[in-house]
Every structure is written in C-alpha cells, then in structure tokens.
Subunit: 196 residues, 2 copies
C-alpha cells in the first residue's frame, strides 16, 4: 500500500535526520550547528529539512523525545529483569552507556534544554524529572533490600547521570574505546554504590 510505503520512507529519512542532528548538537551545541551542518551530513540542502520539520527548534525537541523513549525503555527493561536493586541499577547503567557510545550515537543531548520553546521545555523537563525519579527509585530499592549502601539518593543519582551524560564530550566514536567504556563504566559507577 502506498501510504504505508511512503510513511516508511518519510519516517526513516526523518530518523536519519534526527540522528544527524543529535550528532551535530552534541559536537557544537544547538546554536553552534547550522541546518546546513545537519543537511550536509545527509547529503541534502538545508531547505530540505523543512519538509520533515517545522523549524530548527522542533529538531532538538524531537531529539529529546527520542532520548526520553530510549531512556524509558532502558529503565523499564532493567527494572523488569528482576534481581536486587543493585542488579537493576547496574543493568540500567550498562544499557544507558551502550546507548551513549552506540550506533545511534548519543541521542541524548541533555545540554540544550534552554534552547527549547517554553512549552517544549516544560514537557522535556517533566520527562527528565520522571526519568530521574525512576532511577532514584531503583537506588532506593537497592538501599531497602540491602544491596546498596545508604546514601543521598538525589545527589548520587546526579553524580552518576553526570558521568554518563558527559561521555559525549570526550568520546568521539572510536570503536575500541567504545567497548572499553561499555565494559568499565557500569562497573565503576556501580562500585560506589555497593554495600558491604
């Protein structure tokens, strides 16, 4: 059916676009990347992007929604698999790190919130808060079941998320390093939590 095939092409192109955009945003920031930058990465003209998106702001906005999706999936998956609180946290960290250094690139440009329109900003902040809460809940679960040593949950969460969110600043797509990050980071981040 035409509609379906069309949607398929449209959607997949749009996806490539978001990936390219996220990559640029991560490297040069929102204001620092021109639509030309993104378009070039796709072999297109800047004007072409407007076929997929209303304006530049919508581009970051969609990147955020996508990031939120991935984050939610990672959390859900990690929580569903059972085990101790620490197990769940560790599983989630691994997943999150994999996403950051993985094929789809770090979709999570968590730095560009100020660039969003107020409505979108509110929505994204809300998603972000929910995500943080869910993560903190896992930590609390670990504390409750004794697998994680008591700690300031909020601060600990911030510390861990900071480590991960910062990865794109120093990691630039070296595959060997990617493997090393995936194998080391979750360990390092979990280590600080472990209870006796």
């Amino acid at each position: 059916m035409a509609t379906n095939a069309l949607e398929s092409r449209f959607e997949s192109q749009k996806d490539r676009m978001l990936k390219a955009a996220a990559q640029c945003f991560n490297q040069k920031g929102y204001s620092g990347t021109s639509l030309r930058d993104v378009a070039n990465l796709l072999g297109l003209t800047d004007a072409a992007l407007y076929y997929y998106v209303r304006n530049k702001e919508e581009l970051v906005y969609l990147c955020y929604l996508r990031a939120a999706d991935l984050g939610r999936d990672a959390l859900k998956g990690a929580a569903a698999a059972g085990g101790s609180g620490l197990d769940k946290v560790a599983r989630y960290l691994r997943r999150h790190v994999e996403i950051m250094v993985g094929e789809d690139g770090p979709i999570a440009i968590m730095s560009e919130i100020p660039s969003l329109k107020p409505v979108h900003r509110d929505e994204v902040l809300e998603l972000s808060r929910m995500h943080s809460s869910a993560f903190e809940a896992l930590i609390e679960e670990g504390i409750a079941d004794g697998s994680i040593a008591p700690c300031d949950v909020r601060m600990t969460g911030n510390a861990i998320m900071g480590s991960i969110n910062w990865i794109p600043k120093w990691f630039h797509g070296d595959g060997r390093q990617a493997d090393q990050i995936v194998s080391e980071f979750p360990r390092i981040l979990s280590a600080g939590l472990t209870a006796g």
Copy 2:
C-alpha cells in the same frame, strides 16, 4: 601611582566580565549567548566588551585559561598537603566541587572547546590533558599505596570528572543546595575508589 590603579580597575572589570561570560556560557552555551547577554549582566553595552577583549572567541578562551588556573591550584594544593593517595584525591575533589558551586561561579565551561580557534583549542586541550594526567597520577598513587582499589585509571578519571563537570547543568545557584553538594559529592565520588 596612576598606572597601577588603572591596571587594577581594568583588571577587576575584566574579571567581572569573565565571570559574567562564564555564567552565560554555562547556561546557554557559547553560540547561544550574545555579547549583549554578557554586557547586560554587567550593566554595559555589548560594544564596551571590545575594550577588554579582541573578540567573542577570546572571551571563552580566557575563561578556559582561568579555569585551568583554578584547576591547577586545586591539584597542587591537594597534592602538597600530604597523606595517602586517596586523601589527596578526596581533597582535590572537595576543592574542585567548591569551585563549581562557589561564588566565582563555575568558571569551567568545559563544553565549548569546539568553539575555540585552532591555536587556542590546541593550547586548552593540552592544558586539559595535563590536568587529567595529574589527576590520574593521584589515583595511581593511591593504588600504589593501597588506599585506592585497583581500577582503570583513565576511565575512572573520566567518570569522576564527568560528574563534576556536569554539575552546572543542574545546579543553578541555590545556596542551600550548594552546601549539600559540597558535603555530599566528594564523599560519593571517593566512595567508589576506596580500597578494602
């Protein structure tokens, strides 16, 4: 003497400027902040900034130099005070965190390196590398003297620095929270290192 007094005023104004600039850069990123933003924060006109600085790029550049200074001092101070490797690391972390949430604001906008001119970028990256090495050296010292558990030093360093560098993204000057961060963060970050 006239010259001295003049330098004094000039320098102190320039300092205020750098602080304001760092604050803006941290909030909206390099390209996202206009010189007007910085100037307004000082009650000046954008054009006035050119009296102190050749151009916008030099503004970030100087912010980085300043950050490097503070970082170096913190490291030197922490290393000089003696104790085990872990002690030194902990002392350094405390100092660094204090800077990030302190009066002078997070001078360290470690995200805007791509905005620098190649010459400046190289210089700043070199400084940054030296800083990382010095920090990693402290960790190694701790491993050697048994105060820190063996680990992938490079990755551990990245993880810790990420946590700290990310602080400006979620901390926005709330004094109460600042105290809490200073008291919690060093503990959390050290916890993951502690040996037996």
